[in-house]
Amino acid sequence: MSRITDAPNPKLNYRQATESPEPGAGIDLDQELGRVEFRISTRPHIALDNRVCAGCTARTCLNACPARLFVETSAGEIIFNYENCFECGTCYLVCGHEGALSWNYPPGGYGVRFHRS
C-alpha cells in the first residue's frame, strides 16, 4: 500500500539504530506495517518525554504497542516513531507515568487508513 505524506518522508532509521527484536513468530511486523496505508502528517500526534521515561523500569510500552513503535536504544533511551501508529491508545493506557506521553489524534485525514478492517 502506498504511503502518502505531506512532506518528504525522512527515511526511517530508528529500528536499524537498535538491536532488532525477535521476529514475531511467523509474523514480520515490518512487512505487516508495510501493507497498511498511513497518511503521515509532519506533526507528531504523540510526544514522549524521556526525562520521565528515564525513571521507568517497567517500560510496558515496548512490548504492548501492537506496531512496536517504542524501541529502547543501547543507551537506554526510548525512541518512538509516530508514523506507523494505529492510534489505538494502548501506550498511554499501560503507561503508569504522569507526563511521559502526551497523546492526541493526528490531524483530520491523517494517520492510519484501514481498508479491510
Binding site: 514475531g24 504492548a64 483530520g108
Partner: protein, 450 residues
C-alpha cells in the same frame, strides 16, 4: 497516567444562534445512527469524522448482528456491504495442540432478507451507514478531528472546536460517539477514570484466499454464507481470546488481549497471534493465504461497571465511548450496541428539541438506555467480563474440556471404558482443577449468565 489533550473548558458568551441543531462526533455506527435519527426528525445535524472516510479508523473482531439495524433501516440487506451471512458459529477450546470444537450450523441464519449475523469490512459498512444518514439530510464533515468542547457561561456545551479552519461549530447539542478513547467524554468529566483494566487490545490480520477456496476449506454450503469461530485458551499467559471469520474473498484472524495482562507478562501481540496461526487446528485453514492488512484497536470491554455518566448539559455519549459494547464470553457484540445507543441518543435530543427544553436529553437518554436491551443485557451480564477474563475460564475451562474429550474419545482397549463421572473426575484432576474450585466456577457461571 499521561496527560490527555490539555483542553481548557473555554467559556464563550451565550446566544441562541446555532449553526447546527446537533453535532455528532464520530461517524462510526453510534454516530451515524444518531445522525440518521436526528436528520429524519428534521434536525440540522453535522457528523464529524476524523478519518478520510467513515470506518477508516475502525477495526473490529468482526461480526455484525443486524436485528436493531433492521428496525432503523428495514431494507438494509438491499444496500449494506455484506461480506458473508454467518450460518455457523463455532466456539473452540484450545489446550496445547488439542482443540475441542462446539459448532452450531443454522441454515435459517443465512436468509438474505434477514440474517442473524454477517461479516463486513468496517470502512465499507461505516461509510454505507453514514451515507444513509447523509441521504436523510445529515452533513458529513470527514477529515475533521474534534479537539475540544466549548461551553457557554452557564457551563452548557455550546460548540465543538475542530482542527478545521474557522471558528468552533456552534450547536445546541453534542453527541460524543468518538470511540473507545473518547477524549470528549473524558474532557467533560463523564468517565469513571477508566484505566488499562477497562480495555482489551484487538489485533487482526486479514488474508486473501479467494471465495471458492474459503467455501472449500470452511465447508460452507452456499456462496455468501460464512463461519465465525471464537477461540478460548489461545492467548498464553495473557487473558483474552481469538477469532477467525470469513469475508467474501478473505479471512480475518485475530486476538483480543487484556492490557493489564500484556503489561504484566511482557508478551508481544503479534507473537501471540503468530502462535495461534500455527496451531494445528488453524494453520491448515490459513495455509498459503496472502496477507493484506494488519491492524489494532482498543475494545472498552469492562461493561456495565465502567459505563460513564451518559450525558450532561448539552452532551450525550454513545457507542464505544459509553462502553456500550458487550464482551460477555458467549456473546461478543459491539456494532449493534453502538447503533442502539446512538439511535437512543438521537431520539433523546429530538425529545428535548420537541418539548422546547422541557425534557432534558441527558435524562431521557439515560432512562431509554436503562430500559433498552443495551442497559438490560449490560446490567444482567455485569459480572461476565471479569469471569471471562479469570484464569479459571481462560486456562481451567479449555484444559478441562480437552482432557474430558480425550478421556471419553480415546479408546484404550483392553482397559475398560471409564464411566462419564469418572472421566470428568479424571479430566478435572489432570487439569489441576479441584472439585471445590470446579463447583465454585459452576456456581459463579450460573450467577453470571443465569
Amino acid at each position: 497516567m499521561p496527560k490527555e489533550m490539555e483542553v481548557p473548558m473555554t467559556a464563550i458568551e451565550g446566544g441562541n444562534a446555532s449553526c447546527f441543531d446537533a453535532v455528532v462526533v464520530g461517524a462510526g455506527p453510534a454516530g451515524s445512527a444518531a445522525a440518521l435519527v436526528l436528520a429524519r426528525g428534521g434536525a440540522k445535524v453535522a457528523l464529524l469524522e476524523r478519518g478520510t472516510e467513515p470506518g477508516s479508523k475502525n477495526l473490529y473482531g468482526g461480526v455484525i448482528y443486524p436485528a436493531i439495524l433492521a428496525q432503523l433501516i428495514p431494507d438494509y440487506p438491499e444496500s449494506a456491504p455484506i461480506e458473508r451471512r454467518i450460518t455457523r458459529r463455532v466456539t473452540m477450546l484450545v489446550d496445547g495442540g488439542r482443540a475441542t470444537w462446539l459448532a452450531h450450523d443454522n441454515p435459517s441464519w443465512g436468509d438474505p432478507g434477514g440474517p442473524n449475523a454477517f461479516t463486513a469490512y468496517r470502512p465499507a459498512f461505516d461509510s454505507w451507514l453514514a451515507g444513509v444518514a447523509v441521504a436523510a439530510g445529515a452533513v458529513l464533515l470527514p477529515s475533521t478531528t474534534a479537539t475540544r468542547l466549548v461551553r457557554d457561561a452557564y457551563g452548557h456545551v455550546a460548540a465543538v472546536a475542530t482542527d478545521r479552519e474557522g471558528p468552533p461549530l456552534r450547536t445546541r447539542m453534542v453527541i460524543a460517539a468518538d470511540g473507545a478513547n473518547s477524549f470528549l467524554a473524558k474532557q467533560a468529566g463523564l468517565m469513571k477514570g477508566a484505566g488499562a483494566e477497562g480495555y482489551t487490545l484487538g489485533v487482526k490480520r486479514v488474508l486473501s484466499l479467494g471465495a471458492e477456496e474459503i467455501e472449500r476449506r470452511f465447508n460452507i454450503a452456499s456462496p455468501g454464507e460464512g463461519v465465525d469461530i471464537e477461540i478460548l485458551g489461545c492467548t498464553g499467559e495473557v487473558s483474552g481470546g481469538g477469532f477467525l471469520y470469513t469475508n467474501s474473498e478473505t479471512v480475518a484472524v485475530g486476538l483480543v488481549l487484556s492490557l493489564t495482562g500484556l503489561a504484566a507478562t511482557k508478551s508481544r501481540p503479534e507473537e501471540l497471534l503468530g502462535r495461534l496461526q500455527r496451531h494445528p487446528s488453524i494453520e491448515p485453514l490459513l495455509r498459503g493465504a496472502e496477507p493484506l492488512e494488519y491492524g489494532a484497536h482498543l475494545i472498552p470491554e469492562a461493561g456495565f461497571s465502567h459505563w460513564p455518566r451518559l450525558g450532561s448539559k448539552g452532551l450525550l455519549v454513545a457507542g464505544d465511548a459509553a462502553f456500550a459494547c458487550l464482551a460477555a464470553g458467549l456473546w461478543l457484540e459491539g456494532v449493534n450496541y453502538a447503533i442502539a445507543s446512538g439511535a437512543e441518543a438521537g431520539r433523546a435530543v429530538l425529545a428535548e428539541f420537541d418539548s422546547h427544553g422541557a425534557a432534558d436529553a441527558a435524562a431521557v437518554y439515560a432512562s431509554a438506555m436503562e430500559a433498552s436491551f443495551v442497559g438490560i443485557n449490560h446490567r444482567r451480564l455485569r459480572h461476565a467480563p471479569r469471569l471471562v477474563m479469570s484464569r479459571a475460564t481462560q486456562v481451567g475451562l479449555p484444559r478441562f474440556a480437552n482432557h474430558l474429550a480425550s478421556e471419553i474419545f480415546s479408546v484404550r482397549d483392553p482397559e475398560p471404558k471409564p464411566g462419564l463421572a469418572r472421566a470428568a473426575y479424571a479430566a478435572a484432576h489432570r487439569s489441576g482443577v479441584s472439585p471445590l474450585t470446579a463447583g465454585a466456577a459452576v456456581l459463579r457461571a450460573l450467577r453470571t449468565f443465569g
